[in-house]
């Protein structure tokens, strides 16, 4: 039983956490791709930016002696999401819109987004330095322990408070996005533009408005994903680069431009990573007496050593590109 609890803690919970973060990030990437047709490399830095917005707000309020029954990082996340949306709109207006007006090709926008990523990285570290920070300096990180003794376990299932919030908020975000895209006029307009931009224009859809809404959503989702990652682990200025790769992998695996695909891709990549580095020897422990010696004493039976965790996302990516280049859900081309 304890082995199963260990598995739940290490794989189910961790996988859901990282999968949620990848999914939120990948949805943002895929929305921008659907509307503007370029892979937005600065998305990871928008996540970092959002996390730092939340961090600053928390620091200010905590310094003022303010506290709430829920973690401040969660309570203030909506404000940070709004700020990041504004920042995303600003990035578009300042950097991408001028290039689009000149009729730049998607590949030019892609390169420009690499430039933007470097600028954001520079600015973020200029202001916040390079040190690692945590949201839980002034308040404790509560941990929920679900007692499993009724099932014969001696150890509890553990979930931290931010993780519990995260699960709830991700469900809310995905549902909200779903209803926005399928029920609202603007959401449908977004899908229409992603499906056929020329026809969307011909139909009189206000494409400039759709572009703005896209950046607002992308910014908000990025801030949410970034804050959650920072709440779960810690806040590092170089959070972005390590995370943009699995996020892109998730978006491509799901099919670029496909919102639901991105969610599926996010969880797929998240669980694949956690499963790949999971040490399966725990499951051998109960049977230790009956196993041949070499297996009973085996150390660290994980599919992939932890140092190679990052490669998991790409192995999946490569397999998908080889087997089904447009992703699991058929992605956009042109």
């Amino acid at each position: 039983m304890d082995e199963l609890i260990f598995f739940i803690n290490k794989v189910i919970i961790s996988g859901t956490v990282i999968g949620s973060i990848y999914a939120l990030g990948a949805v943002g990437v895929t929305l921008v791709f659907g509307i503007l047709r370029f892979a937005h490399f600065a998305h990871g830095d928008m996540m970092t930016l959002g996390a730092f917005f939340t961090y600053s707000l928390v620091a200010i309020l905590a310094a003022a002696g303010f506290s709430l029954p829920i973690p401040l990082g969660i309570a203030l996340m909506p404000v940070a999401m709004a700020l990041t949306s504004v920042a995303a709109l600003g990035l578009d207006k300042g950097f991408y819109a001028p290039l689009r007006r000149k009729g730049a090709k998607p590949v030019t926008l892609l390169i420009a987004s690499i430039g933007v990523t470097l600028m954001l990285q520079g600015v973020i570290r200029l202001f916040y330095g390079t040190s690692t920070r945590t949201f839980f300096e002034s308040e404790p990180k509560d941990i929920f322990r679900i007692d499993m003794s009724w099932a014969g376990g001696t150890r509890p299932i553990t979930i931290t408070e931010p993780q519990a919030w995260m699960f709830g908020l991700v469900v809310v975000a995905v549902l909200a996005l779903h209803f926005f895209l399928t029920r609202s006029r603007l959401g449908k307009g977004m899908r229409a533009m992603s499906d056929n931009p020329d026809l969307a224009q011909v139909s009189g859809i206000n494409t400039a408005l759709v572009v703005r809404v896209t950046w607002i959503l992308a910014g908000a989702l990025a801030a949410m994903a970034g804050t959650m990652l920072a709440l779960d682990v810690s806040l590092k200025p170089d959070l972005a680069f390590n995370i943009i790769l699995p996020i892109f992998a998730a978006a491509v695996v799901g099919g670029l431009g496909q919102t639901y695909g991105a969610i599926a891709g996010g969880f797929l990549v998240g669980f694949a990573e956690t499963l790949a580095v999971f040490d399966w020897t725990v499951f051998l422990r109960p049977f230790r007496e009956n196993l041949p010696e070499w297996l009973a004493t085996a150390q660290g039976l994980s599919l992939v050593p932890t140092e190679y965790k990052l490669t998991v996302a790409f192995v999946i990516l490569v397999i998908v590109l080889l087997v089904r280049p447009t992703g699991i859900f058929k992605g956009l081309s042109t």
Partner: protein, 429 residues
Amino acid sequence: MTRRVLIAYLALAVLIVIIGMTRGVSTALLLTAISSIYALVALGLNIQFGYGGLFNLAIMGLLMIGGMTVSSISMPINWAFWNSDGPMLLGRAILAAGAGVLLILGVRNLWRIGIPRGVVTWLTVLAWLAGYVLYRTQIDPAASYIETQVQGGWVGGLGLPVYVGYAVAGALAGLAAWVIGKISLGLRSDYLAIATIGMSEIIRAFVKNMDWLTRGTLTVTPIPWPVPLPGAYQDGGVDIPTSFVYGQGGFVLVTLAILIVAVLLVERAYAGPWGRMMRAVRDNHIAASSMGKDVKARQIEIFVFGAVLMGIGGALLSSFNQLFDPGGYIPINHTFLIWVMVIVGGMGNSYGAVLGGFLVYLMWAMSEPVSAAIFAQVSRGTVALGWGPIPEIDARAAQMRVFVLGLVIWLSLRFAPKGLLPEVIRRHV
């Protein structure tokens, strides 16, 4: 056009001379050596992106392959390894890998004896897994044996001349590019960008962690030079500053020679029928493929060609630094910086890319002391205001350069998308 090129290169020469006069001849030579290597790499990217329209963000990985290769080829032989059980263990790992490959190939062909395709697919997946596990059971003990039991902790080099290292580095980088190209060329640019950056990270993960082969974060040093080191001149009685000028000057001659040969080769090839074909492929995929030209094969050709230059560049870089340090490779310095060089210099123009390589590297190198000085000044200001000095000042100053690099990318795209020396439009066919 040729006048523009001449003026640009003259200005570059003047810049280097000014650096030499203000910061010393040795510094100027050092910067020239490194920037000419970067120029070679930029030339490679220009072939891929400027000529072929192929997005490559795997430059860092290719440079690492180059560095790793030159260190493995030219470092002395580690007899402690060859006299240990290591070779036997490694041999078993290689056999296991071979067996795994045979297993996979065998299973994939099971359909020939009437097993349904669907079943074969699943069996193939299992075969991959089995092959992988088999390999891991052999390589893991071999790796840990070499890393812990063998003196030096790695397999060592082959003790061959460093020139051989450069050549093999180019070949291996080309091979890696061929694999990357097989997988990802033919995808649209966005997928290609993501796929290549992923490959680059995979290469980094392996090179960094396969300590038994690459020494990993322990770093390999000293990698030999193709010309006498400053130390050799000192032994001959030359004073230390002059010995550096001689030594680095020698290396500069080597890198410049390689660069010039590469430029001439590229220019010749591009002016000829091969180049015409490349332009047709880049400018009009559909027309080219309908004309019966195998677009993907041409693209792989061009991708490999560029990568060979990158591999040689990576080898030269490690060789010049006499150090191969897998931990020292970061995408900003080894991928994005190259992109800036090509964008600023002029995509689709060899002379532009090379010029961009020199200029951007010189700026990048010079901006370090400049931004440190600016920050020190600002810090003095904040101290005067009673706010105390800027914390982590060095790190922040370094980040300022990253910001400027990003801004340069955007400014060039916005205001000078053709670069300093624009592509010379040649008529098709």
